[in-house]
C-alpha cells in the first residue's frame, strides 16, 4: 500500500478483536491467538520449552520493532516463502483454525501453504488461532536460518523437531522455508533420521537428502541467491538444525 502497489478500497483493522489474542495452554495443546505478536511468543518461556521450534523461529523474524508488531496469524496467512514461521509451523505440526461463514475449519500446517502468498485459506475465511501440540519432554527442536543481509528474510531456514528416546529418534518433522515458493516438509530427511541414533554420521546422511523431493523449477532463484546455492545451503542448514536439536535433546535427557 505504501509504495502504491496495492490500492484497496477498504481496509479492515482486526487488531482490536480481543478473542484472537493471547496464548492459552489447554491439555495437550497450546492455543495461540492469530493476533499474538512474535515478541509475545518469543517472551513465553513455556512456549520455548513446549514448542521450541516455533518460539525460536518467532525470535528470528525481522527485528525488534517488527517482532513487536507482527503477528503469527498475519505471518502464516501471508505465506511468504522466505519468512521464518511457515517452516517452523510444519515442523511443529501446527493446526490452523480458521473461521468463515460456515463456521470453524481446522487445517494441518502441512496442507496450509500452497504457493508463494497462497494458502488453503478461502477468501471469506479468517485465521483466528493456531494450536501447537505440547511437547512431552522428549521433544526437542531447533530453527536455524541464513538471513539475507539486506532484508533479513531467510535465504534458507530449516526447522527440525525430533522426538528422542534414549538417544534414538523416534519421530522427526522437518520444515524448510526460503528454498521453494512456499514452505515445505522435508520428508526424505525425516525418513532418514527416524530410527537412527543421533550421531554426526546419521545427521550428515539425513541432511544429504534435504533437496531430494524438491522440484527444481519451483526453487527460489533470485538476486540474493541462486537455486543451486540455496539447494546447497539447505543441506548445510538442515545439518545445523539437526545438530542443534540433538544438542538440546541431550540437554533435555541429562536435565
Amino acid at each position: 500500500m505504501k509504495n502504491g502497489l496495492a490500492k484497496p478500497d477498504v481496509v479492515v483493522d482486526i487488531g482490536h478483536i480481543e478473542s484472537m489474542r493471547g496464548i492459552e495452554k489447554n491439555g495437550d495443546a497450546t492455543s495461540i491467538g492469530a493476533l499474538t505478536t512474535y515478541a509475545e511468543i518469543d517472551d513465553d518461556e513455556e512456549l520455548w520449552a513446549d514448542a521450541t521450534v516455533l518460539a525460536e523461529a518467532a525470535s528470528e523474524i525481522g527485528d525488534t520493532q517488527v517482532r513487536n508488531r507482527g503477528t503469527i496469524g498475519g505471518n502464516l496467512a501471508h505465506s511468504d516463502p522466505a519468512s521464518d514461521l511457515p517452516g517452523a509451523a510444519i515442523a511443529s505440526d501446527l493446526t490452523l483454525v480458521v473461521e468463515g461463514p460456515d463456521g470453524e475449519r481446522r487445517i494441518d500446517a502441512d496442507e496450509f501453504f500452497v504457493a508463494m502468498y497462497m494458502t488453503d485459506l478461502a477468501e471469506d475465511e479468517l485465521l483466528t488461532r493456531i494450536e501447537v501440540p505440547r511437547g512431552d519432554g522428549a521433544t526437542s527442536g531447533a530453527y536455524v536460518k541464513k538471513p539475507s543481509p539486506s532484508s533479513g528474510y531467510a535465504l534458507v531456514g530449516v526447522a527440525a523437531q525430533l522426538q528422542v528416546d534414549d538417544g534414538t529418534v523416534t519421530a522427526a518433522r522437518i520444515g524448510a522455508n526460503g528454498v521453494m515458493d512456499h514452505a515445505v516438509r522435508l520428508e526424505p530427511v525425516e525418513d532418514a533420521i527416524e530410527g537412527e541414533r543421533l550421531s554426526d554420521d546419521a545427521i550428515s546422511a539425513a541432511a544429504e537428502r534435504a533437496a531430494d523431493d524438491l522440484e527444481e523449477a519451483m526453487m527460489m532463484d533470485d538476486l540474493q541467491a541462486s537455486a543451486e546455492f540455496r539447494s546447497h545451503l539447505l543441506e548445510t542448514y538442515t545439518k545445523r538444525a539437526l545438530e542443534r536439536a540433538a544438542e538440546r535433546a541431550d540437554a533435555t535427557v541429562t536435565a
Binding site: 543481509p149 539486506s150 532484508s151 546455492f229 546447497h232
Partner: protein, 792 residues
C-alpha cells in the same frame, strides 16, 4: 585504542586544539530539535512529486497529464513543454576530449535511465501529489539499454547523438613508452581484470528541498539537502534563470551526504522553479525508491591492470586500462572522478618508476555517476593494492615485506610520482610497523598454517592506501578543467562583548564542523571555546564558499579560519600597541593576551580589545572601527593522508560464509583537531568500505531495470555486519597548511575494500583462488572455491 571523549568544560583553553571534546551539535540531534529539510513547514506550502521514467532507455511518444490535472488537490502539473528557463544541468569539470551532452531537468522526447524525470505534480498535500503522479500516462517506445561501460563502448546503441559510440572522453596519464619498455625488461608480471562495482550512496536522509519565493522582492529561498550551498546557488541561478544575488540556498541539518548531495540535480531545481511559477512555497522530498533511482552513484569501473617486477622484487612498471561508467548524463563533477581523482593516485604508497593509465568514460543507461565517498581514490587504491598482492604472490614474497621494499622511503618527501602529483609528507613504514605489531603478524602466519592443517581457512589482507584531499590550488584545478576555484572563504567576527562568530563556506552534514571549527578559532584567538559560535551552510550568512566534499573542510576550511583569525589578531595587536602605548614590534600575543615585552603587567586581552574596537574611542591612526576579517584561502597543494589497514577473516569454503576475526586500522591524517571525531570518521568510512567489499552493489537487469531498488534488496550494512575496529594513528603533519592537517573523511572507505578482498583471497590461497570481484557475497566465495575444484 578507543579515544576517550571529554567535556569541553574540563579542557584548559590552551589544550583545546587536539582535544577529543564532545560535540556541540549533538544536543539538538539527540532531542528531536534538529531541523532537517522535511521538518520545515511553511504557510501555504504545497507538495511536489515527480513522474519518472519506468524504462532505462525509451523514446517518449506521448505524455498524458489530463487525468492528473483533474484530481482533487492538484495545483499544477508541468512537463518539459512548460519549462520556460534554460533547464539544462551543467557539468562543472571539463576535459579536452569531453563530449558534453544536454541534460534537461525534464525529459521531453527521450529518457535515458530508469528514474529520468518526465513531469512534476504540485498538490496541496503529500499523498495527493503522489496519487496524481500515478495518474500521468506516458507512452514509451522502448529502446535497447546498456549498463556496463565496456558493453556501451563496444557496439551498444548510442544514448546521445553528440557522443557516438557512447564515448564521453578518452584520457591518459603517465608515460606509455617508458612503461611498455619497463614491462619488456621485467622479470615478473602479474595482472588482474576487475570490476569496481556501482554503489548507491544511501545517505540516511533522502534528498529534498523547500523553496519559497517572494514576488515582491523577487527573492527565492531554497532550503535543501546540500553539501555545498554556494555551488548550488551558482548552478541553480543558471538552470532556472534566477539572479544569483536574489537566490538564497540554505542547508538545514543535513542527514549525511557521502557525495550524493554535492551534485546539482533536476529535482531541487524543479522545486525552486515551481515555487516561482506558483508563487507559493513548494516542498519536494525524495522517497527512498527515488533516491535509489536518481542519487548519483559511485565507482563503476571495469579495469585491466598489470604490474611488472625485476629480479629483486622491485616494482618497475604499472599499466592500467579502465572503462568508467558515467551513467546517462554528465553529473556535476563526473569527468574529474575517474581521471584526476583516480589516475593521479595510481602510484599508491610505492616508488614506481613507470606508470601508464588510460581511461575511457562511457555513457550508459544508469543514473549519472559522480563522486561518492572517496571518489576515484578508492578505485585507484583498490586496483593498486590488488595488484600488489598478486605481485607479491608472483615473486613469492610475504605481502607485508613486498610492500615495505617498494614503499616511497621516508626521506624521499616531497615525492613526485609518475602520475603528476607531489606527495607532501609521509612515513609509510611507520603505519605498517604499527599495524604488524597490533596484528601480531608472525604469530598470525603460524596460526594460519596450523588452521589450514585442520581444514580452517584464515586470511589476512593488507591495504596500504594513500589519498589526496583538499584539492588545490585553484590555478592547478583550472588547468585541469575545473569550472570553479577550490579555495575556501571564511569570516571571523568579534562582537563588542568579546564573543566571536566564525563563518565558513564549507557545509557540514554530520562531520562536527561546529565543534572542530570552534576549537580552531578559540585556539587561534586564545579565547574560551564557548565564546565561539560557528555558522555554515547558508548563502545569505556567508557570502562565499565551496562546500564540503573530498575531505577538504579541515585542510581548506579550517586553514581559512586560521587565516582569518590571524588577520583579526594582527588588527587587535595594532589596537593593543596603540592603547598600551608600546611599539607594535614589542607586543607579544599568547593565550588571548597581548603583552608588552619585558613589562608583563602591561597587557590587554583580545576580548577587551574587541570592545575597544567597537567603541572606537581610541583607535590608532586611520584604522577603521570593528574587529573582523575575511579570507579566501587557496592552498598551495593537495594533502596526502595515508595508512595501513588490515582485515583478518575466516572463510568457510563449504558455505562461503565469512567471519571477521579482526579489523585493524592505522591512519596518518596529519595533526588531529579532535581525535574522537577523527576516530568516528574512520569507523564510518571503514563500514562503508566493508559494505562495498561484502554486500553493496547496484545491480541491473538486461533492460537497465534496477534490481537493487530498495533497502530490502540493496544491503546497507547493519550493526551485526560490521566488526569491531581497532584503530590507532601516527602523525605526520602536512607542511602545506597552517594546521598541519590532512583530511580524514574518506580514508576508511578508500582503505577497507581491498583489505577485505585481499584477506579472503589470502584465506582461499590453498584453493588456487587469486581474485574475486566485489561484493564478496557468500555465494560468490562458494563458487570461487568450487570452480577451482573445491579442493586444495
Amino acid at each position: 585504542m578507543s579515544v576517550e571523549s571529554v567535556d569541553p568544560d574540563e579542557v584548559d583553553a590552551a589544550d583545546i586544539l587536539g582535544s577529543a571534546i564532545e560535540r556541540r551539535e549533538d544536543p539538538a540531534l539527540l532531542t528531536g530539535d534538529a531541523e532537517y529539510t522535511d521538518d520545515i513547514q511553511l504557510p501555504q506550502m504545497a507538495h511536489m512529486a515527480i513522474k519518472r521514467s519506468q524504462h532505462a532507455h525509451a523514446a517518449i511518444d506521448d505524455i498524458d497529464t489530463a487525468a492528473a490535472e483533474e484530481m482533487d488537490e492538484v495545483v499544477a502539473v508541468f512537463t518539459a513543454e512548460d519549462i520556460d528557463v534554460p533547464g539544462n544541468l551543467p557539468v562543472g569539470w571539463l576535459l579536452d576530449t569531453l563530449e558534453q551532452v544536454d541534460h534537461p531537468i525534464l525529459a521531453q522526447d527521450r529518457v535515458r535511465y530508469q528514474g529520468d524525470a518526465i513531469a512534476v505534480v504540485v498538490a496541496e498535500e503529500r499523498y495527493a501529489a503522489h496519487d496524481a503522479v500515478d495518474a500521468i500516462n506516458v507512452d514509451y517506445e522502448r529502446l535497447e539499454a546498456v549498463t556496463s561501460p565496456r558493453a556501451a563502448l563496444n557496439g551498444a546503441a548510442d544514448l546521445h547523438d553528440d557522443a557516438p559510440g557512447n564515448t564521453a572522453f578518452e584520457w591518459e596519464i603517465g608515460d606509455e613508452t617508458k612503461t611498455d619498455q619497463a614491462f619488456a625488461d621485467a622479470s615478473h608480471t602479474a595482472s588482474v581484470d576487475l570490476e569496481n562495482q556501482l554503489l548507491i550512496p544511501n545517505a540516511m536522509e533522502p534528498r529534498g528541498a523547500v523553496a519559497d519565493y517572494n514576488p515582491s522582492t523577487e527573492e527565492l529561498e531554497v532550503a535543501m539537502t546540500t553539501q555545498n550551498p554556494h555551488l548550488h546557488r551558482l548552478l541553480m541561478s543558471g538552470v532556472i534563470d534566477h539572479p544569483e544575488h536574489k537566490l538564497q540556498i540554505r542547508a538545514p541539518d543535513v542527514g549525511g551526504g557521502f557525495g550524493s548531495k554535492i551534485h546539482h540535480y533536476a529535482d531541487e531545481a524543479l522545486a525552486a522553479w515551481a515555487a516561482k511559477q506558483l508563487e507559493r512555497p513548494v516542498k519536494w522530498i525524495a522517497t527512498r525508491s527515488e533516491t535509489y533511482l536518481t542519487d548519483a552513484q559511485g565507482r563503476g569501473h571495469e579495469t585491466h591492470g598489470e604490474i611488472a617486477m625485476d629480479d629483486e622484487g622491485d616494482i618497475v612498471g604499472l599499466k592500467i586500462e579502465t572503462d568508467a561508467n558515467l551513467g546517462a548524463y554528465l553529473s556535476t563533477f563526473a569527468p574529474a572522478v575517474p581521471t584526476y581523482l583516480y589516475g593521479t593516485l595510481l602510484s599508491g604508497q610505492y616508488d614506481i618508476p613507470a606508470i601508464h593509465c588510460e581511461v575511457t568514460g562511457a555513457f550508459t543507461n544508469v543514473p549519472p555517476v559522480d563522486a561518492y565517498r572517496g571518489a576515484g581514490r578508492p578505485e585507484a587504491s583498490y586496483v593498486v593494492e590488488r595488484l600488489i598482492d598478486l605481485a607479491a604472490r608472483e615473486v613469492e614474497m610475504d605481502p607485508a615485506e613486498f610492500r615495505r621494499q617498494n614503499f616511497v622511503p621516508d626521506d624521499a618527501f616531497p615525492y613526485e610520482t609518475q602520475v603528476a602529483v607531489v606527495y607532501d609528507s609521509g612515513d609509510y613504514e611507520k603505519t605498517l610497523d604499527r599495524a604488524l605489531e597490533m596484528l601480531e603478524y608472525e604469530d598470525f602466519r603460524e596460526r594460519q598454517a596450523e588452521a589450514r592443517e585442520n581444514g580452517r581457512y584464515l586470511g589476512l589482507g593488507f591495504s596500504a592506501y594513500i589519498e589526496a584531499c583538499g584539492l588545490a590550488p585553484s590555478e592547478l584545478a583550472g588547468q585541469l578543467g575545473a569550472q570553479a576555484g577550490l579555495w575556501e572563504s571564511s569570516l571571523v567576527r568579534f562582537h563588542p562583548s568579546g564573543t566571536v562568530t566564525a563563518f565558513c563556506g564549507t557545509s557540514g552534514h554530520g562531520q562536527g564542523h561546529d565543534t572542530t571549527y570552534a576549537q580552531i578559532v578559540a585556539n587561534e584567538l586564545g579565547i574560551d571555546y564557548d565564546d565561539v559560535d560557528v555558522v555554515e551552510g547558508d548563502t545569505d550568512e556567508i557570502p562565499h564558499g565551496m562546500g564540503t566534499y573530498g575531505s577538504r573542510s579541515a585542510a581548506v576550511g579550517g586553514s581559512s579560519l586560521v587565516t582569518s583569525a590571524r588577520k583579526v589578531v594582527e588588527k587587535a595587536k595594532s589596537i593593543a600597541a596603540h592603547q598600551l602605548e608600546a611599539d607594535e614590534d614589542d607586543i607579544e600575543f599568547e593565550a588571548g593576551e597581548f603583552r608588552v615585552a619585558g613589562a608583563p603587567d602591561r597587557s590587554m586581552h583580545i576580548q577587551e580589545i574587541a570592545q575597544q574596537a567597537y567603541l572606537a574611542h581610541d583607535m590608532p591612526g586611520e584604522m577603521e572601527p570593528g574587529l573582523e576579517a575575511t579570507s579566501f584561502y587557496d592552498p598551495d597543494n593537495f594533502v596526502f593522508p595515508f595508512g595501513m589497514h588490515a582485515a583478518v577473516v575466516e572463510v568457510d569454503p563449504d558455505t562461503g560464509e565469512l567471519e571477521f576475526e579482526r579489523y585493524v586500522a592505522v591512519d596518518d591524517v596529519g595533526n588531529q583537531i579532535n581525535p574522537k571525531i577523527v576516530e568516528g570518521q574512520i569507523h564510518g568510512g571503514v563500514a562503508q568500505g566493508i559494505g562495498q567489499a561484502r554486500y553493496e552493489g547496484a545491480e541491473y537487469d538486461d533492460n537497465g531495470q534496477l534490481l537493487t531498488g530498495s533497502m530490502q534488496d540493496y544491503a546497507v550494512p547493519k550493526a551485526e555486519h560490521i566488526p569491531e575496529m581497532e584503530t590507532d594513528s601516527t602523525v605526520t603533519p602536512s607542511p602545506h597548511n597552517p594546521l598541519g592537517v590532512k583530511g580524514v573523511g574518506e580514508a576508511g572507505t578508500i582503505a577497507a575494500p581491498q583489505a577485505v578482498v585481499n584477506a579472503v583471497v589470502d584465506a582461499l590461497e590453498p584453493f588456487g583462488v587469486d581474485h574475486i570481484d566485489m561484493p564478496l557475497k557468500d555465494e560468490k566465495i562458494w563458487r570461487a572455491v568450487h570452480e577451482n575444484g573445491g579442493e586444495e
